[in-house]
């Protein structure tokens, strides 16, 4: 088993097995002349020696998913985890969606993984029954053996593979799924498979992928969105030691989708030589209409648009009538800038074009999108693109968009060798699919207790839809459905309006997506209303949520996105949201920690990715206006949790991600060009800037599994500004917070 494991590792990314070698256990074993594994499911094979080979078809970027879903299979299989080997799947539609984003891996595949494991277990039980000539109902899979308790007979799974592989695959209705009391791994805290590798530098990421004879590329891309290459002079490039040649990459045809941006590449025998050569390139561009794009002007434009009526996207009661008759009205505008994902590993891939086909090893959240995008770029069928998935050094949505893989493939075809593309940090910050900047205008009519009788919320932002439709001006159903049209409060009159706006850079989804700006505006506004009413914020939020109920969400002109889930299975349930508010208040000591000058708690509660989260953030603001975060408490109801340890780590990480975007994240543009370039001017939270302690409180739940990777992010920014207001009296309506002087 060890030997197979080693070969498999080497074959995964090393040079021992040539380009195009497949990583699945089956092929590796065939290469060694061993009997192929029995594969009763696309997700699972068992080798004659008993090793269970479980296929991880989702990408690993730090959530633990490539361990946790296989643990579900192993549990139903009654596998001994020590006898399990996880193999990363290549891109293939037979696995179902491999698009690892939207916090949906468990939700979408929990049942399928259980069925895969249960199917194999039943077949092994049937094989044992046949062998022993006893009823199969009397045979039971138990920790990698089938046992017949009446006779005391016992057979290892490996011994049963040959017979099991001759049996028909049972129908779903015949499967016996384990009761919760028999779970071995589900709900437990088994360590994930990659941790030891990560402590010794052995994890293989996209940047570590190699193919024999490959060249390294460094690409000068159009400095402005939509700019076209006019001319270039590479005379000086060729004098750089190690440079092999230059090559051009054709620019995208709108819509840009996941196409390469285009540009001029320098190809060399090392990363460094390619980067040095690129510095000697002289390139002229036709900048096009976005050459004058200025993010400060755009912000002013967006803040003007939100004062005007927009397209109505949700309408309850009669807001205008309520405002006309209102005694007291409160209004505020909020703004969140463009943001960059900045995963620690920048986009990276190696690809080889050979005989009309492409093989790539890529740090990608979505290998099937790689197949489609590369096939589109090369004019081949997507089946002719083999995408091996490496570990991802962070993804956050950036690595769902495989433009960098297209670059590697397009260059490989031109130079006749495999090509590795690794973006520099400057490339990553300057050519991202940015998280949208957004302006939000809020207005409420208030009753005598300061509770809204009417609520108007206008949002204007460049839509992610512009990635797929160059003319898109309004938000997509999913952007509207992210914590905006699904406002859960008990307010009789409610209207949401969306104003039109065009994109001037590539806009993409980043961890928590449109929830980021909607949560910031909505919960900041709630905080303002509570303060105006001079009421305790926890009590005010609970009052606003109203009676326990499922809030039917009926937007105008679209269906409610709800993560593509039915509202009967995943309702907007105010009881669950109230529960996390109460839990976080209790755990954070809310009632006993009254604000003092310079130190206070803030709170926000938000449902996203079908998960209910409430965060209490404690801030300290010193006499020079510097903000630190001594403590964060987050209560999370994500339904059933498969691995509580990894769930907590995701929420801890979300608190840091949320702190980065709240405190310091901002991308700006001048003359069409992105101003920021690296972590000096696009800072992300460091150890001394991140929350000092984060306590995660998971609500035990038997509700269907919801999301974990993203839902921790949205409440952080408004909870921080809520705390800053309580500590200083300064109301922050624009992110990042560092732009506001607090003393």
């Amino acid at each position: 088993m060890n030997r197979v494991d080693k070969v498999s590792r080497r074959g995964f990314l090393g040079t021992a097995i040539g380009a195009g070698a497949l990583v699945l256990g089956v092929q590796i074993n065939e290469a060694e002349g061993a009997t192929p594994a029995w594969m009763p499911s696309v997700y699972l094979g068992i080798e004659p020696n008993g090793t269970a080979v479980i296929v991880a078809h989702r990408s690993e970027m730090g959530t633990g998913i490539r361990s946790v879903l296989p643990m579900v299979v192993a549990d139903e299989l009654e596998a001994d985890w020590k006898k399990v080997r996880v193999e990363q799947a290549i891109g293939d539609t037979k696995y179902g969606s491999q698009n690892t984003d939207g916090s949906c891996s468990i939700r979408d595949f929990y049942d399928a993984m259980r069925e895969a494991g249960a199917t194999a277990r039943l077949m092994l039980e049937q094989a044992a029954a046949k062998k022993w000539n006893v009823p199969s109902a009397e045979c039971k899979g138990q920790n990698h053996f089938v046992v017949h308790s009446k006779s005391g007979k016992k057979a290892a799974y490996g011994e049963l593979v040959k017979v099991a592989s001759t049996l028909p695959v049972p129908k779903k209705a015949d499967l016996r799924l384990k009761p919760e009391s028999e779970f071995r791994y589900i709900g437990k805290e088994l360590p994930t498979i990659d941790q030891a590798d990560h402590t010794r530098g052995a994890g293989k990421f996209g940047i570590d992928a190699k193919m024999p004879g490959m060249l390294y590329a460094s690409i000068e891309r159009p400095p402005v969105y939509g700019a076209k290459l006019r001319s270039f002079d590479d005379a000086a490039v060729k004098g750089v030691k190690g440079v092999v040649r230059t090559a051009t990459i054709e620019g995208f045809k709108p819509p840009h989708m996941f196409q390469a941006l285009g540009g001029v590449a320098v190809l060399a025998d090392s990363t460094w030589a390619a980067a040095q050569g690129r510095k000697k390139l002289k390139v002229e561009w036709d900048l096009g209409p976005n050459g004058s794009f200025d993010s400060a002007k755009e912000k002013a434009e967006i803040l003007a648009k939100i004062k005007q009526p927009g397209k109505v996207v949700r309408n309850v009661g009669d807001v205008d009538k309520a405002f006309a008759g209102a005694g007291k009205v409160h209004e505020a505008s909020y703004y969140v800038p463009l943001l960059s994902h900045a995963p620690m590993e920048p986009p990276a891939a190696v690809a080889e074009w050979r005989d009309g086909k492409v093989v790539t090893y890529a740090a990608t959240q979505n290998p099937q999108a790689v197949q489609e995008a590369v096939a589109g770029a090369m004019g081949i069928k997507k089946e002719d693109v083999t995408c091996h998935v490496t570990l991802l050094g962070g993804g956050f949505g950036r690595k769902s968009k495989p433009d960098y893989v297209c670059e590697a493939a397009m260059l490989s075809k031109q130079v006749g060798k495999p090509v590795k593309v690794v973006w520099s940090r400057e490339d990553d910050i300057k050519f991202d699919f940015y998280h949208a900047n957004a302006g939000m205008y809020m207005k409420a009519a208030l009753d005598a207790k300061g509770k809204p009788t009417a609520w108007l919320h206008r949002s204007v932002f460049p839509s992610i839809g512009s990635t797929f439709d160059a003319s898109a001006e309004y938000g997509q159903e999913f952007e509207m459905g992210m914590g905006w049209v699904d406002l859960p409060y008990a307010i009789p009159n409610h209207r949401a309006e969306n104003g039109a706006h065009k994109n001037h850079v590539r806009i993409g989804w980043m961890r928590a997506v449109a929830h980021i700006y909607h949560a910031f505006a909505i919960h900041s506004f709630v905080d303002e209303l509570a303060a105006a009413a001079n009421r305790d914020r926890v009590e005010y939020i609970l009052d606003l949520l109203g009676p326990d109920r499922n809030v039917p969400i009926e937007p105008v002109g679209m269906k409610y996105w709800n993560n593509d889930q039915d509202q009967t299975k995943f309702p907007v349930d105010t009881a669950r949201l109230k529960r996390v508010v109460q839990l976080v208040a209790e755990k954070s000591g809310w009632a006993n920690k009254k604000p003092t000058k310079g130190r206070a708690l803030g709170i926000a509660a938000h449902r996203s990715f079908l998960t209910y989260v409430a965060a209490v953030v404690e801030v300290e603001v010193d006499d020079r206006g510097r903000v630190t975060i001594p403590r964060v408490d987050i209560a999370v109801d994500a339904g059933q949790i498969i691995n509580p340890e990894r769930a907590r780590s995701q929420i801890e990480g979300a608190a840091v991600f949320g702190t980065s975007l709240a405190m310091m994240g901002e991308i700006t543009a001048a003359d069409g060009r992105i101003v920021q370039s690296n972590f000096n001017n696009y800072p992300v939270a460091r150890i001394n800037e991140a929350p000092k302690v984060t306590h995660v409180h998971l609500v035990p739940s038997k509700a269907p599994a919801a999301g974990i990777g993203e839902p921790g992010v949205p409440p952080i920014a408004p909870a921080i500004t809520s705390a800053i207001f309580a500590a200083t009296g300064k109301r922050i309506r624009e992110l990042p917070i560092r732009k506001t002087k607090l003393v």
Partner: protein, 160 residues
């Protein structure tokens, strides 16, 4: 011109431009890929290695600057990944994506060499050049304290 240095206890000779950063020599020439690229400007710490025991950012260290010197990378930190930090990292399940962790561990190892019992503030001061976008900082701090404990315990055992 060949440049000689010692990497993880082994003498090596590389024929590369003198200004090529140590990071790319390790990764592209010597196939020691545990050391990661993050920024190329000494801003994120992902590329941290030890030069004669001192942590340096290999992405901004020209290979000529380490000619004749000893370089230790994550691959050479300990035999069989048994450094107390590596043990503590597993105990607290520190990594998420894992990409920055080699740099984190190398910086922390140099800290513990100098300061066997660091306070929170000393840990933060030593580690604030190492970014983790996944946000594993709380566990990093805990694991460094734990590794310090393990080191002290091992020392006490040896002395007894």
């Amino acid at each position: 011109m060949a440049i000689r240095l010692n990497v993880n206890g082994k003498p090596v000779s590389v024929d590369v431009p003198a200004n090529m950063p140590l990071l790319w020599v390790l990764r592209d020439e010597l196939e020691q890929c545990g050391t990661k690229f993050g920024c190329g400007a000494g801003l994120c710490g992902a590329c941290t290695v030890h030069q004669d025991g001192v942590p340096v950012r290999s992405c901004v260290t020209p290979v000529s600057a380490v000619a004749g010197k000893s370089v230790t990378t994550i691959e050479g930190l300990s035999p069989n990944a048994t450094h107390p930090l590596q043990q503590a990292w597993l105990e607290f399940d520190v990594p998420q994506c894992g990409y920055c962790q080699a740099g984190q561990i190398m910086t922390a190892a140099a800290l513990l060499e100098k300061n066997p019992k660091p306070t929170d503030a000393e840990i933060d001061a030593a580690m604030d050049g190492n970014l983790c976008r996944c946000g594993t900082y709380i566990r990093i701090r805990k694991a460094i304290h734990r590794a310090a404990e393990l080191t002290r315990a091992a020392k006490t055992n040896r002395e007894e």
